[in-house]
Amino acid sequence: MTDMPLVRTSREEIEVYRFGPVISVLIPLLALVIQAFVPVKVRSFAIFDLPLLVTIFFAVARRSQVAGMLTGAVIGLVQDALTHQPIGLYGVAKTVVGYGASSLGVRIDVENPGTRLLVTSGFYLVHQAVYFLVARNVLGIAIEWLWAHTLLAAVLNGLVAVVLFGLLDRFKHST
């Protein structure tokens, strides 16, 4: 077992990954379809946010802030389109997460399952906080911040991310 440092010391050590155009479109689309389809059968599945996990994965793997932001914005806007709320709520939240995840991916190792769990849980909280702030302060939507529910959702999404990122690792190519 090789010992990998958790924090990178220089940019030269960072491995940047690329994805084919088909994968870049298909995986987010699949995540959106599953996210929209499964809660019809299992309502509690809505606690997961697969589009967010995919956003984090692509942002961290590409390690490009612009790419991370754009991925987050596009996925978020399509997710907004499926709700009845104003377009841009998820867009703004996922843009911020895409930027943050790609910035973090430059600095720390995110191949480790433990790191993935922590990073994803943390970004889930950031995502929910941005969503809450925009919805409440910009749009005046009366939503409640439920600590217990949000923390539980953060941990569950982190756990799913560990499995999902392991599967998605197969599609990435080193540059």
């Binding site: 379809v33 929209a36 059968k41 802030q65 997710q79 389109a81 499926l82 703004v92 939503i143 409640e144």
Partner: protein, 441 residues
């Protein structure tokens, strides 16, 4: 300067992207179609996702149908037997209910109620949802191509589900009743208290705006009130699950929806609601039941104006009958036949009503002025006779009709008229009803 832009390029792009989206929140670019305007991004997003959802649903259903229809047939005979027994039970119940329904319709017509019923529905399959806890919406596989329009009610046989919010060509977005932005006019079945049904962020359904001093029992049925102009009146909504006094003047009533909103698969979109109205009433004065009945009766030919009255009002078959000459409403009824109106304007419904209101006992006068008691010629003028049948009028018909109970059936029969008059003993004159009385007792 160049270094500044290079250094903060990514942060600048982030700010630009966020700014664009915040502006986009306020100024959505819309696409206008015949079914209303839809945000362009929403249209693209839905168009990208719903075909895949449809394919998933169809595949899932196909596999399930093959399994259920060709392989898994265990217990079908037993189920068939049970269903047959159920049909028998329901047939018996249907007879009873149809009698009740007919009676209710008659009473509604008498009272001038508007009656709403669902005339047309479109069956649709739920193909997806928003996938978010913050937005309780589902997508159905029917859209503007199938005649779906915004604000149509969406129901299941169990109860209401929601309303159509946005429509694209082949799919539509349905806002569920448990969404916080949803609102449905509701009424409690037994106490008849009205409120507004709203969802919560947690996906619960609450009945709001019921005063805290009202008594609401757990388990009471909640129905649509029809006040929202979306859901027809009387559809099941759910049952009262919990009642708590709220912080304000109103009760917090939690309702368990009759339809399982978390697992709704097939729905009906109410595409046409027919509203039956009772015969048009005069806005200036309230309409009497006898007037309504008179307008529904077959008309009789106009009475020759020159026929003299020969004191026949004292005939025992008519003048002594409470349902005939002594009842003001009967006088109006007979006079309000189509054939009578032009020739005797004073005997029209409104005029007769006015006369009845101004003079305490106008009806007997009317009866004596008209040749009502002369059986062959004066039948149209005599209230009860004119009502009894349109043609071949005989005084003898009046007798049995006057003694029949009111609630026995058809509004066009004499017995229905009796309900407007006094169905008491024919021989002895019963107490006179007040002249301006509006509804039968």
């Amino acid at each position: 300067m160049e270094n500044f832009f290079t250094r903060y390029r990514n942060a600048g792009i982030l700010v630009l992207l966020l700014f664009a989206q915040v502006v986009g929140l306020a100024v959505p670019v819309k696409r206008t179609s015949e079914s209303g305007s839809t945000s362009l991004i929403r249209f693209w997003g839905v168009s990208a996702v719903t075909p895949l959802e449809k394919a998933l649903v169809n595949t899932n259903q196909g596999v399930r149908n093959v399994w259920r229809n060709y392989f898994y047939l265990r217990g079908v005979r037993r189920e068939n037997r049970e269903l047959k027994e159920q049909i028998e039970r329901l047939r018996i119940e249907q007879v009873r209910l149809s009698e009740d329904a007919a009676q209710a319709r008659r009473l509604q017509a008498l009272l001038g109620f508007k009656e709403q019923y669902i005339a047309q529905t479109v069956a649709a399959q739920v193909i997806g949802s928003s996938g978010s806890d913050q937005s309780h919406v589902v997508y159905i596989d029917k859209g503007s191509n199938d005649g779906i329009k915004p604000d149509m009610a969406v129901i299941t046989p169990d109860g209401i589900v929601g309303k159509v919010l946005r429509v694209v060509h082949s799919s539509a977005q349905v806002l569920l009743i448990n969404d916080p932005s949803s609102g449905v006019g509701a009424i409690l079945q037994s106490s008849r208290l009205q409120g507004i049904l709203q969802g919560t962020a947690a996906g619960e359904v609450m009945l709001r705006y019921v005063m805290s001093d009202e008594k609401v029992t757990t388990g009471e049925q909640v129905l649509t009130s029809g006040g929202d102009r979306i859901f027809p009146k009387g559809l099941p909504v759910g049952t009262v699950q919990q009642t708590n006094p709220g912080s304000d003047l109103f009760l917090n009533i939690r309702v368990k929806p009759a339809a399982d909103l978390s697992r709704v698969e097939e729905v009906l979109v109410v595409s046409k609601v027919v509203e039956n109205t009772a015969p048009a009433s005069e806005p200036s004065a309230p309409l009497r039941a006898a007037d309504i009945l008179a307008e529904r009766l077959p008309s009789v030919p106009p009475k020759p104006p020159a026929v003299p009255a020969t004191g026949t009002a004292t005939s025992p078959t008519t003048a002594t009958k409470p349902g005939a000459a002594t009842n003001p409403s009967n006088g109006v009824t007979g006079a309000s036949n189509a054939g009578m109106r032009p020739s005797t304007p004073a005997a029209g419904p409104s005029q007769a009503r006015a006369a009845a209101a101004t003079s305490g006992d106008a009806a007997p006068d009317n009866a004596t002025k008209k040749p009502a008691a002369k059986p062959s010629e004066t039948a149209p003028g005599g209230g009860a006779v004119g009502v009894t049948s349109g043609a071949g009028i005989k005084p003898a018909v009046v007798k049995p009709a006057a003694s029949k109970p009111a609630a026995s059936g058809d509004a066009e029969k004499p017995k229905a008229i009796d309900s407007a008059g006094k169905p008491a003993k024919p021989a002895a004159p019963s107490p006179q009803p007040s002249p301006g009385e509006e509804v039968p007792r």
